[in-house]
């Protein structure tokens, strides 16, 4: 991506797991909440739209679940785990900038009732994800 606009180091909290394609997943009470990482929102720049899945959609780990759009790019968001969508963050429709402002909090995308919790173990922890981001940054 050419227009990395921020020099701020990306925030990589250790209470979530990460996919190499820059989604995060957090397990609370048997549900997995999904969003995109701080690194991803910095790379995209100002988010202008999120095309969310619909409740009851089936999603599959590693497959496209929705699309996040900035002025210069549109990126597919892949489901980090498989399951059924049980909630989506409708607030993003009117305030897509929340993804930039609070990617791990109010900027979440959707919640999944997972079919296989073991899939979470296939994701990266904060350290590995940090290294992964660094290696991607070097490619530019």
């Amino acid at each position: 991506m050419n227009d990395v606009t921020s020099d701020m180091p990306a925030d990589i909290p250790d209470d979530v797991r990460y996919a190499p394609s820059h989604e995060w997943a957090r397990l609370d009470d048997d549900l997995v909440t999904v969003g995109i990482s701080d690194f991803a929102q910095q790379s995209l720049g100002d988010v202008v739209f999120v095309e969310l899945p619909e409740v009851n959609d089936e999603v599959h780990a590693g497959s496209e679940a929705c699309v996040v759009e900035s002025v210069k790019a549109a990126a597919d968001v892949y489901a980090p785990v498989s399951g059924t969508v049980v909630a989506v963050n409708d607030a993003l429709e009117d305030a897509p900038e929340t993804v930039n402002q609070d990617p791990y909090g109010d900027g979440w995308f959707f919640k999944v009732e997972p079919t296989d919790l073991d899939e979470l173990d296939d994701l990266l922890d904060a350290d590995s994800y940090g290294q992964h981001c660094e290696s991607e940054g070097d490619e530019d």
Binding site: N2, D46, V48, F49, E69, P96, D140
Partner: protein, 487 residues
């Protein structure tokens, strides 16, 4: 005019351009359920107000007629007025598209001449003029590749190969034709990575889409080896004619081994771009794809010309538009080709290449970094501002916007995607050396400014009707139509 005042803002209820009002007709026989209850919210202005408003708007544009426009991959050359005059002759502009062929022999003769000329220019067996733009030509071309495989019962071929440097229309077209896209890497020297290509070829390969010279601004040197490999694997080669201007009258895609191609007449054949269109994207094919050509096209029977329609062409991919294509653009292209002739066409490519290589040499001498310094430029070339971006914090976009202040339209920016912070620069054959030199001078001045006062460059443009626009607001708070304030 006040910036942003629309035609709706300057009107007032009941005002009219009364010279444009014929007598009203009686529609009392139409049932009221069919009729509109409120008149549409169109502007209400006098003729002078309309003329003045749009004349003033025109002054807020850059154009070839007013500025150097070195947009890479767009071939913004001079559009000869004679061609415009020819296409606007009353017999052409008043011709109904479905007028009988017996009353259309002049027009049909023109189309037939253009088909023949384009066959000779490209080295293909047949041409259909009907696609209305480059992207529609691409669609027609890939749809023909699919029709050919399908007709042979070879339905397992579901992949189209596209180099990573390709224009976005190539993968978008392949998907519209129901194909999956497989990207092929481009090597350090700007040519396709032939080893990677051979690796990707196989039973699933329907074909490859290539531009030559490529979007990296270099001639694909191993093109015949690529063609042999693709054909051996059972695929076909599609030529994207975006850069045909670089080889016009010198080298033919047909001789390189391509099976199907489109041409961008609005580029190579100098028809005006009109602020985004119309274009025209005729397709040419090798013998084996002739049965799949889109309809209609023109044939000559004895002394008379006639249309070939779908009923004669059961293998055709079909019709692409309501009528025959962008006739007015085709007539302009024919007029241009007729004025150039054989020698003129050869000179187009030669001078376009000369101008590009000269401009590239001058910019390199001035310290700008070339993306492919070991290569000849085709009719265009790439420079990268990755150093300026890193050391000065001034990006390709900043250089582009500041060039506008110097009276030059910016080159193509950030394309191809594989070269960071780049300009793709295409001067075309119709610019003088003095114009190219002035462009280099402006580039040198902007870089000096970027060193001394980078903010000046980052906040450019400073002299245009508006400064940099808030794209984020435009996308988040969509305002796509004027809403009249309540009166």
């Amino acid at each position: 005019m006040t910036p942003g005042d629309t035609i709706f803002d300057i009107g007032s209820p009941g005002r009219r351009a009364s010279a444009q009002y014929p007598a009203a007709g009686d529609v009392s026989d139409l049932p009221t359920s069919c009729l509109r209850t409120q008149p549409p919210g169109l502007p209400e202005v006098s003729e002078l107000q309309a003329v003045r408003h749009y004349t003033n708007l025109s002054a807020r544009n850059f154009s070839i007629d007013t500025q150097f426009y070195p947009l890479g991959s767009c071939t913004m050359k001079y559009n000869p007025r004679g061609a415009h005059r020819a296409a606007s002759l009353p017999g052409f502009s008043n011709r109904h598209p479905l007028a009988p062929a017996s009353a259309s022999q002049g027009f049909l003769a023109c189309l037939h001449d253009l088909q023949e000329t384009l066959k000779q220019v490209t080295g293909m067996a047949a041409v259909s003029l009907t696609p209305m733009a480059g992207a529609q030509g691409e669609f027609a071309g890939v749809a023909m590749i699919r029709a050919w495989h399908d007709a042979r019962g070879d339905a397992g071929r579901r992949e189209i190969l596209v180099p990573t440097a390709a224009h976005g229309t190539n993968p978008a077209t392949a998907v519209m034709c129901g194909y999956q896209v497989r990207e092929v890497a481009v090597a350090e020297d700007g040519d396709v990575d032939v080893a990677a290509l051979k690796e990707a070829l196989g039973e699933r390969t329907a074909g490859i889409m290539l531009t030559n010279p490529s979007t990296c601004g270099v001639f694909e040197r191993r093109i015949r080896e690529i063609a042999d490999a693709v054909h051996t694997a059972g695929g076909l080669l599609y030529y994207d004619g975006a850069n045909l201007n670089a080889i016009l009258g010198n080298v033919r895609p047909g001789d390189m081994g391509f099976d199907v191609l489109h041409m961008n007449l609005h580029k190579t054949f100098a028809t005006p771009h009109g602020g985004g269109g119309p274009g025209s994207g005729p397709v040419g094919v090798a013998e084996r794809l002739v049965p799949h050509l889109p309809t209609p096209f023109v044939v000559r029977d004895g002394d008379a010309y006639r249309w070939v329609e779908g009923d004669e062409m059961p293998g055709s991919i079909g019709r692409l538009s309501a009528f025959m294509g962008n006739a007015g653009i085709l007539l302009r292209a024919l007029a241009y080709a007729r004025m150039l002739g054989r020698e003129g066409m050869r000179r187009v490519a030669e001078y376009a290449t000369l101008n590009a290589n000269y401009l590239m040499a001058r910019l390199a001498d001035a310290g700008f970094e070339l993306a492919y310094p070991e290569r000849r430029a085709s009719h265009e070339f790439i420079i990268t501002f990755r150093n300026e971006a890193k050391t000065l914090g001034v990006t390709a976009m900043d250089f582009a916007k500041r060039l506008l202040d110097f009276g030059f339209h910016a080159p193509t920016t950030y394309f191809p995607l594989l070269v960071p912070e780049c300009f793709l620069i295409e001067p075309t054959e119709t610019e003088t050396k003095a114009e190219l030199d002035a462009f280099v001078d402006a580039m040198v001045r902007i870089r000096a400014e970027a060193e001394a006062d980078p903010e000046r460059v980052r906040t450019a443009p400073h002299t245009l009707p508006v400064s940099r626009l808030d794209d984020v607001k435009a996308a988040r708070e969509l305002d796509l139509t004027h809403v009249r304030s309540p009166t």
